[in-house]
């Protein structure tokens, strides 16, 4: 047959075309860059690639040995910073690094800026990164960003009070939601509300908190500067509880809240039995499970005892399992766990610099909890880091008010 002479062309048999589901199966394995190119192959491909159902099946199979992590500079200026008001927003850079070795793969710049300067990392979910900027009027401006297809979107403004926000995805409806609960609340009339943004409706709404609140109690979200953990379809917050007992404020046991991103309902989850409320708590995710780090920040100078727990079965009362107990020296902050279960922390210490001055230096370390081996990350710049999981995704493709760059 003639067509067999030309190596690049498959036999043309019009009645034996590949069935649609097979074509979609093949497309779902392609990297996003190829898919963006192939949108112009034909009209059916153009719409299939942007179809939300296709988006959820898309799993590019790269032969890479590692997952990725994005280092995102945090917005807290360093104490030794000299120039007040220096705008650093134009220099904001995300570093994509291999999450096994933390070697840098490449840097990419934030495609958006805001006059108030530093972006706050809200969280990441299925390839979307969410950032917020505090505006002068104490409200937040939010951006959703998909670096793998070079698109971002500024969310419509909201009139919400000061809140602690997180991002999650509603896998049942192929939707992304940004959720905030008030930083301080009590049993009031009207009752406190949760703010929810949904990408599919491109709008904010308020829903009732929906959990039983005790009278004479104030609830405060723990001010973690890292992203809220999104685990098993739920976002999580730790609440500190201050009770009014005979005119005196007394710290009561902490509370763990979980928000079901699909049903938009809040509920309380059990916490493991604790030594006492003087232990601080940091809730995060560890290899897909909800994890809790309890620590005592002023037990000894420069050494912080910690316990690390994992919720083996999500939502099950007795499934909190204590995994590790250790002490960390010079600990400043927990950042989170990598996909391989290494704990990323920030430490600080005074060092004598080259010109014999005493300088405060931050450093970031990966701690292997099995061996207690610590590896220092070679970050070039002396400021804070965040960690997210980079994933190729088609989310935001063809969205409303999405900007390409």
């Amino acid at each position: 047959m003639m067509s067999q002479e030309r190596g690049a062309i498959l036999r043309r048999r019009t009645k034996d075309d590949l069935p649609d589901e097979t074509v979609l199966d093949i497309l779902a394995r392609l990297p996003v860059k190829s898919l963006l190119r192939f949108r112009c192959v034909c009209k059916p491909w153009y719409s299939s690639i942007a179809n939300p159902n296709f988006l959820s099946t898309h799993v590019p199979n790269h032969n890479h040995q590692c997952g990725y992590v994005i280092h995102i500079p945090r917005n807290i200026p360093q104490p030794s910073s000299s120039i007040p008001g220096s705008s650093r927003s134009s220099g904001q850079v995300c570093t994509l690094a291999c999450d096994r070795t933390y070697e840098t793969i490449f840097d990419f710049r934030f495609p958006f800026t805001h006059q108030s300067g530093f972006p706050h990392f809200v969280g990441s979910c299925n390839g979307i990164l969410c950032f917020s900027y505090n505006t002068a009027a104490w409200s937040n401006v939010f951006y959703l960003w998909n670096p793998s297809i070079r698109k971002f979107k500024r969310l419509p403004d909201n009139q919400l009070p000061i809140m602690t926000f997180g991002i999650g995805c509603d896998s049942q409806n192929n939707d992304f939601k940004v959720v905030g609960i008030p930083q301080a609340f009590a049993k009031t009339k009207p009752p406190p509300e949760v703010g929810v943004y949904s990408l599919s409706s491109d709008s904010w709404k308020r829903v009732e908190l929906g959990i039983e609140l005790r009278p004479t109690v104030c609830y405060y979200t723990v001010n973690n500067s890292t992203a809220l953990p999104f685990v098993c379809g739920h976002l999580h917050w730790i609440l500190k509880i201050v009770e009014d007992v005979g005119g005196h404020a007394r710290l009561s046991a902490d509370m763990l809240l979980s928000f079901d991103v699909n049903s938009e309902k809040l509920k309380q989850l059990p916490l493991p039995d604790v030594e006492g409320s003087c232990f601080m708590k940091f809730v995060t995710s560890l290899k897909g499970k909800l994890a809790l780090i309890e620590y005592k920040s002023d037990a000894q100078p420069y050494s912080t005892p910690c316990s690390i727990w994992e919720m083996r079965e999500y939502g099950v009362i007795d499934s909190w399992n204590k995994l590790y107990v250790l002490s960390i020296e010079n600990l400043l902050d927990f950042i989170g766990f990598t996909n391989y279960g290494l704990l990323l922390v920030q430490k600080g210490s005074w060092l004598v610099s080259t010109n014999s001055k005493l300088e405060w230096k931050y450093k970031y370390l990966l701690i292997d909890l099995e061996t207690l081996h610590e590896k220092e990350l070679s970050t070039q710049v002396n400021y804070h880091l965040e960690v997210a999981t980079y994933m190729e995704s088609l989310a935001l493709l063809d969205g409303r008010n999405v900007v390409s760059y």
Binding site: I9, L18, L30, S34, F38, R39, C40, V41, W45, N61
Partner: protein, 147 residues
């Protein structure tokens, strides 16, 4: 127990039931009791059927040896595009999940770096965009075409 399969070009293949039921299509025929006579497979030619049956047989034989199986699969899928296309169609028709999976992955790897024109040629797809429409789409994601 042995089954008889007939390819589109009328060649008969005798094959062990255990091997043949790797195909979900054949498996349901057997379960429904329709496999007593020769099973006609009008969508698969003998050359392709022979390859497919080789895949099925090796998957039964090497089931417990993961490494050896992987080596076999890697070698098996190194075929030219025309054969790969036929294997893909056969795996889909006969519903052999692991072969379909492997063949789809191989095609995806092949298509990855191609231009839209090459894709159309390879898969025999008609371009139903006007030149202006196509230019618009390219502009939307220029970087994907440049690097």
């Amino acid at each position: 127990m042995a089954l008889e399969l007939k390819s589109s070009d009328n060649k008969i293949f005798e094959v062990e039931e255990l091997v043949a039921v790797q195909s979900e299509t054949i498996k349901s025929l057997v379960e429904d009791g329709c496999a007593d006579n020769v099973i006609p497979l009008p969508n698969v030619d003998s050359k392709t059927l022979e390859l497919v049956l080789d895949w099925c047989k090796n998957h039964v034989d090497m089931k417990l040896d993961e490494e050896k199986l992987k080596e076999y699969e890697d070698k098996f899928i190194e075929v030219d595009q025309a054969v790969l296309y036929d294997l893909l169609l056969a795996a889909n028709y006969l519903n052999i999940k692991d072969l379909l999976n492997r063949a789809c992955q191989k095609v995806a790897d092949m298509l990855k770096g191609k231009t839209p024109e090459q894709i159309r040629e390879t898969l025999n797809i008609v371009n139903d965009f006007s030149p202006e429409e196509e230019e618009e789409i390219r502009k939307e994601n220029l970087w994907a075409f440049e690097e």
